[in-house]
């Protein structure tokens, strides 16, 4: 199992890509593999405010339903509308086409406190 070095993680398997005060969030390959074939992704509305470590949606597969969390607080600026028609993108390309939401972070420095790739892999035992 691997995780891209340039991303930050939550133990609940969300990745965060930092670009100034914009944070893009999705779930890791490990999480997508665990869930198996994803059939639905429930995402927030643009403009919704999220607290740090707050729940922003749900991901469903033929196997299970899981909550989605954001490691940083902020306002949702964009959601990945492609996932409504093609939720399987989360399985096939979790770090790129399978991204879920973009946030304008309240405090971009908070993102640096999230787990590094190595810490994520260690904490999740993979």
């Amino acid at each position: 199992m691997s995780a891209p070095q340039n991303l930050r993680y939550l133990q609940t398997h969300e990745w965060h890509r930092l670009d100034g005060d914009t944070v893009t969030i999705g779930i890791t390959q490990f999480a997508a593999d665990e869930l198996t074939d994803i059939t639905y992704v429930a995402l927030p509305k643009v403009g919704q405010k999220l607290a740090a470590n707050g729940r922003f949606g749900e991901v469903e597969s033929v196997k299970a339903t899981s909550d989605l969390y954001s490691g940083v607080g902020g306002t949702v600026t964009e959601i990945n509308g492609e996932l409504a028609n093609n939720p399987g993108l989360v399985n096939t390309d979790p770090y790129n086409k399978g991204w879920m939401i973009r946030l304008k972070a309240d405090n971009p420095a908070d993102a640096q406190k999230l787990l590094s790739a190595d810490e994520y892999l260690k904490k999740t035992g993979h």
């Binding site: 198996t36 059939t39 639905y40 469903e60 033929v62």
Partner: protein, 370 residues
Amino acid sequence: MDGLKRTPFYDFHVAAGAKVVDFAGWQMPLLYRGIVDEHEQTRNSGSVFDVSHMGRLYFRGKGAGAFLDHVLTRNVAAMKVGQSRYSLVCNSTGGVMDDVIVSRDERHWLLVCNASNRKKLSRYFAAVVQEKSFDVEIDDRTESTAMAAVQGPKVIDKLSEVLPTDLKAMKRYTFANDEVMMTRYTVSRSGYTGEDGVELILPAKAAGMAMKMLGEHTDRPGATIRPAGLGARDTLRLEAGMPLYGHELSETSDPLSSGLAWAVDLGGKDFVGAEALRELMGRGLKRRLVGLEMEGRRIARQGSAVMQNGQTVGEVTSGTFGPTLGKSVAMAFVEVGIAEGAAVEVDLKGARNPATVVKLPFYKRESSSK
């Protein structure tokens, strides 16, 4: 995974790249390539499932038929050699202890039960034998044998190339004993996927050879028969409207409400639970098992409330996204007044998702063979 049992196919699962999970005390393959892929392979061609975790109990002795008639809801003593029947084991209040398939052979009876209920049934059967002094010996051969389900529209043709048994002549719910390459096996025309197919029981030692005998490399794309795991087994049985113990069946629910009156012979004989079930018939059922077609792609899960006009009218027992149907579907117990076609809502953590009550099964294969 200490203390977990491995089936005789375990090495095959690992070599085939299976994701292995703990299921009822066994290390079982959840999936190999993906649940949807394996589901579609089963509907379109063929799959082999390891079902060795299911219990295989053999009954011998003069009183075996009478004993089984006493503990099973189905009239089985009148069965002919070579026949199999789906039946239930009920407790004295009519609750379901397990659903099983019983087969009559020349010198014994075979009962296949759920892995999760095997120990419970063994204890219960032993107690009944002692209490009622039935002349029957029970032999649990679950761990000395292997069992595989081979399911899909192309498997009868494919297996006919490698097995001496005339599978095409066999009707559904019949079985035969045969031998191939010095290995004895039992094959029955049955399954849990909504497709045609067979279930095979063979000595544990022959498991590796059996996988090779499927005649080609099952791990190759395009193979007629490829391995499938428990994940696909669940989506397949759900589309086919088949009940699963712990979901549609439990000790606190009765078989009549679960739509299994056809597997309960209330007319002809007495069996454990018969009295309670006759009483229930007299009073009338309060709820029944139905299908739900969900609007949209969200999945209803076991325990989700079914609502109508703001009132709770039922509860979901199983739900999934049906790959063949292309729809989110569920099974649920609802009040008997709620008819097919009725509009309901399923509570998904506070969000009300519209759904329509439909007849089970959701999926029925086209072929006429039964």
